[in-house]
Amino acid sequence: MVTMPRKKLLLVDPHSLFRRTVAAVARELNLADVHEASSHEVARQLLHSQHFDALMLDIGDGLSALAIVQDVRSSGTASDAALSIAVTAESCDLATLKLFKQMQVRRIMLKPFKVKTVLDVVSELVSD
């Protein structure tokens, strides 16, 4: 039997316990190969050096998350410009929401949320 390689998702979030739990459970359930980045800076480095099939990005403060998504959409990373993207946020105003929507972000998730909910979104992001 031929086993398909798992799709690669980059999870960008400052909370290590959350990241490690999502990554380990996604691996155990064979949902995705989740790579972790604790900051936008690390995420940028990984996106430029490796191909990913999906991205889940905590928007944090400021506009650096927006710049990362713009970078992806303008083929400025090693991934496809049409990469499946979800963003997560502690809060999000309507103007920011609109900007992300314009860049074809598939999901915007407001914290707090359950690991189980995130796993559903991971599954959705890598299902294409």
Binding site: L17, F18, R20, T21, V25, E28, V115, K116
Partner: protein, 165 residues
């Protein structure tokens, strides 16, 4: 009530537990944050890092329970350490081992229990990361995977010496 059986390797198991020098030590944030995360993730009123000593289970970290220890004989975790896999009791009143357990028919009125055994060395299970609810629940494969992962993180912490100790 079925009393928690004593595994054949209990002397070795107890030696491994005591070698950790963790029994009766103060709470530690590295464990408390894992237990809080588990309670929050599963929306349970009680979550515990329980260590099964010779005659008692002692809680290194706890949410939703006042007691710092209970007897081993009526403990659910005493049963959970008998196998590698998570002990899952979706409704205690439907399980003859626990239906008349004093913690089921009395406080804290346990109706649901999920305990992932903490294995510090092959075959030596010293306690559990467990979730308790006062109402019956279902628990699917994803829930089991999440609980197992959190258990693995607790095990990693147990294997590391505490920085302040």
């Amino acid at each position: 009530m079925q009393v928690a059986p004593i595994p054949a390797n209990d002397p070795q198991r107890l030696a491994a537990l005591r070698a950790l020098l963790i029994l009766d030590t103060p709470p530690e944030q590295r464990f408390d944050r894992l237990i809080a995360f588990a309670a929050d993730e599963f929306d349970v009123p009680i979550a515990l890092l329980s260590l099964v000593d010779r005659d008692r289970q002692w809680f290194k970290s706890k949410i939703g329970l006042e007691a710092c220890e209970t007897g081993r004989e009526p403990s659910f975790c005493g049963h959970a350490i008998l196998a590698d896999t998570t002990l899952l009791i979706c409704d205690t009143l439907l399980d003859p081992r626990f239906e008349d357990n004093p913690m089921v028919i009395g406080p804290p009125f346990i109706r649901f229990y999920a305990g992932a055994p903490l294995q510090i060395e092959p075959g030596l299970r010293i306690g559990t990361l467990c979730l308790i609810d006062i109402k019956p629940r279902s628990f699917d494969a994803t829930d089991l995977a999440i609980l197992s992962t959190l258990r693995d993180l607790v095990q990693e912490e147990l294997r590391c010496p505490a920085p302040e100790r």
